[in-house]
Amino acid sequence: MTTIDLASDARPNAGRPDAPGPNLGLGLEHRSRGRAVRNQLARIVMWTAFAIAMVPLAWILWSVISKGGAMLLDSHWWTNSQRGITNRVVGGGAVHAIQGTLMQGLVTAVIAVPIGVMTAIYLVEYGRGRLATAVSFMVDILTGIPSIVAALFIYALWVTTFGFQRVAFAVVLALVLLMIPVVVRSTEEMLKLVPNELREGAFALGVPRWKTVVRVVLPTAFSGIITGVLLGLARVMGETAPLLILGPYTKNIATNLFGGLMPTLPTMINQDRTEVLQPAVDRVWGAAATLILLILILNLAGRLIAHFGRPKT
């Protein structure tokens, strides 16, 4: 943008030895042109990379919405299950799967958030020495666990060792394993952003440490923590591996976490993904579009809370 008059402008850094300043007869204007070219080159490379990154994203969104968007406009999609519907028949809805996904996500959050937030508080406010290093290291390992390993671990524990049935709560346990590290890491970052002066101020007034954490640190970091929680929730709700291993699909509405099968959007997609008949194919795309929409809403909610919920200091 300002490539032409680089040589003659008087910018704040014009006095620096390597800055393109007034012509001193040292061939500096020549050098600055080279910089301008490089600047342009870098700009072009950056925009191309951005465009390349956007292509698959736009493509996925477009194909999912064009093929599955129409399903979402049918009111039955949001009110009915797939009970009694076969792949030859148009009709039914996804409410059973939407409900299952939301319910499992919510219960996962109820379990994972307190554990995750407390761990983060320990790491930032209290943790010193070996134990803290060990905990931090463990969280790192948890972060790196592939979802299928978490699923198999719970399968081995729940089904093989205890001999229980595969139920929705087992899925929730696997999802908890995946959500905890996300919550710990994001909360940790948010707590570290809280200025130390606030803590010192509280200490100076004789406030005990726990009260400082509860009354000063947590409220300051609150919106950031909620954003992290919602992003973690969005991640586990799109998770598939634990569902395939621990949560068989059913076409019926299910609300019991501890007995029977519970349908979810990813397993609904998986159930019909090899179908060739149009009604079933449409439902697969519809379920995919619904899942994207749900996660989009969660992400937007996270951003909105981050934007409006910032404490006024």
């Binding site: 009694g84 076969t86 409410v95 919510l106 001999g163 068989p248 509405i253």
Partner: protein
């Protein structure tokens, strides 16, 4: 600040809870076009839930049967997850499902490298003998896509040679000799096979091995041992043939029909036989039974020269406990299988690519279902 954040947290939780509750409040399992089928007999209509898992080859058939059963008995719920025959048997043995669907009956001998015997393990889980009940037969179509060829006749030997790459063009003299009058193009034959391990592949290679042993030496297996290009699942091979001129594959009848592919007539030595439900029934009728009593394991004769019998098929079973531990489940299993095996339900399945059981087998299965408790 504290109260503010508490309020915020409360409102967020509130919104989430209200959302979930709202969805569950107005969600409905009722997809029936007309409410109730009226004269549902209470004695034949137990309530409760059954979970089944297994063969994907019978997915369409069992989903139709479930849909019809639930339309009559609104208090019953049957779930079926098509995860594959092997997975179904494993979950049945692990006590995770009430019944399993499988393309092959429980084996009486241990598999190589494994000490466990499927039938014995299943009996142990049940606490009573586990029974194999043949429920539907899935014919395997030799599906092709050649322009201008509406009728194609295949013998076991030619089929084997095409699928192991000995015959490579459509106008090969061997094909022309058994298809007098057909105008075969001079283009290459493109063979597609199932890249995943599949019961369909196993049954198709069993047929080739039995009917054309001289041309197909490889042992039958779930993994493909011939030539060609691999595609995933039945949908994959069917789609590939649909979009490839000169393509040929083997797939369940329904996939060939749904994709409107050409289906070869099979000549096992007694003249070409078109793939129809009746022709498949004839082949099942000549099968011998290897199980004892009500445990009905069928030994198919793939090389049969019975006139009018279509020999390439698989029989899919429901595997159940003869005495279920939970009497309520037993009643439900019995009622569901009864409606699945009923003659009118079986006839319905023909429209979606399955062949009904021949009446002799149907009678046996019906009496076995009656004996369940």
């Amino acid at each position: 600040m504290k109260t503010q954040s508490r309020q915020r947290f409360a409102s967020i939780t509130g919104v989430a809870l209200v959302g979930v509750l709202a969805l569950s409040a107005c969600g409905s399992d009722n997809n029936a076009a007309a409410p109730g089928n009226g004269a549902a007999n209470a004695a034949d209509c137990p309530t409760g839930t059954l979970n089944g898992e297994g063969s994907s080859a019978q997915k369409n058939a069992i989903e139709q049967a479930i849909s019809d059963f639930q339309a009559t008995c609104s208090g019953a719920t049957i779930n079926y997850n098509p995860t594959g025959s092997g997975a179904g048997i494993k979950q049945f043995i692990a006590g995770q499902v009430n019944f399993a669907g499988s393309d092959s009956a429980l084996k009486d001998v241990a598999k190589a490298g494994s000490p466990s015997i499927e039938q014995a393990d299943a009996d142990k889980t049940c606490g009573s003998p586990a029974w194999n009940l043949p429920m539907v037969t899935g014919p395997i179509a030799v599906a092709y896509n050649v322009k201008g060829v509406d009728k194609l006749i295949m013998t076991p030997s030619v089929t084997a040679k095409i699928f192991n790459g000995v015959i490579t063009t459509w106008n090969d003299p061997a094909i022309a000799a058994i298809n007098p009058g057909a105008t075969l193009p001079a283009e290459a034959i493109k063979v597609f096979f199932r890249s995943d391990e599949s019961g369909t592949t196993e049954n198709f290679t069993k047929y080739l091995h039995a009917a054309a042993a001289a041309d197909w030496a490889a042992d039958p297996a779930k993994k493909w041992s011939g030539k060609g290009e691999g595609k995933e699942k039945s949908a994959g091979v069917a789609n590939a043939v649909k979009s490839t001129e000169g393509g040929i594959t083997y797939a369940e009848w329904s996939y060939a029909k749904d994709n409107k592919l050409g289906i070869a007539q099979i000549d096992n030595g007694a003249g070409p036989v078109e793939l129809t439900g009746e022709a498949v029934g004839k082949a099942v009728a000549v099968a011998t039974q290897s199980g004892t009593g009500n445990n009905i394991k069928l030994q198919l004769d793939y090389a049969t020269k019975e006139a009018g019998a279509y020999p390439i098929l698989l029989v899919t079973y429901e595997i159940v406990c003869s005495k279920a531990k939970d009497p309520a489940k037993a009643t439900l299993v019995k009622a569901f299988l009864k409606s699945f095996a009923a003659a009118d339900e079986q006839a319905k399945l023909q429209a979606i690519g399955y062949a009904p059981l021949p009446s002799a087998v149907q009678t046996k299965v019906a009496s076995a279902i009656e004996a369940l408790s």
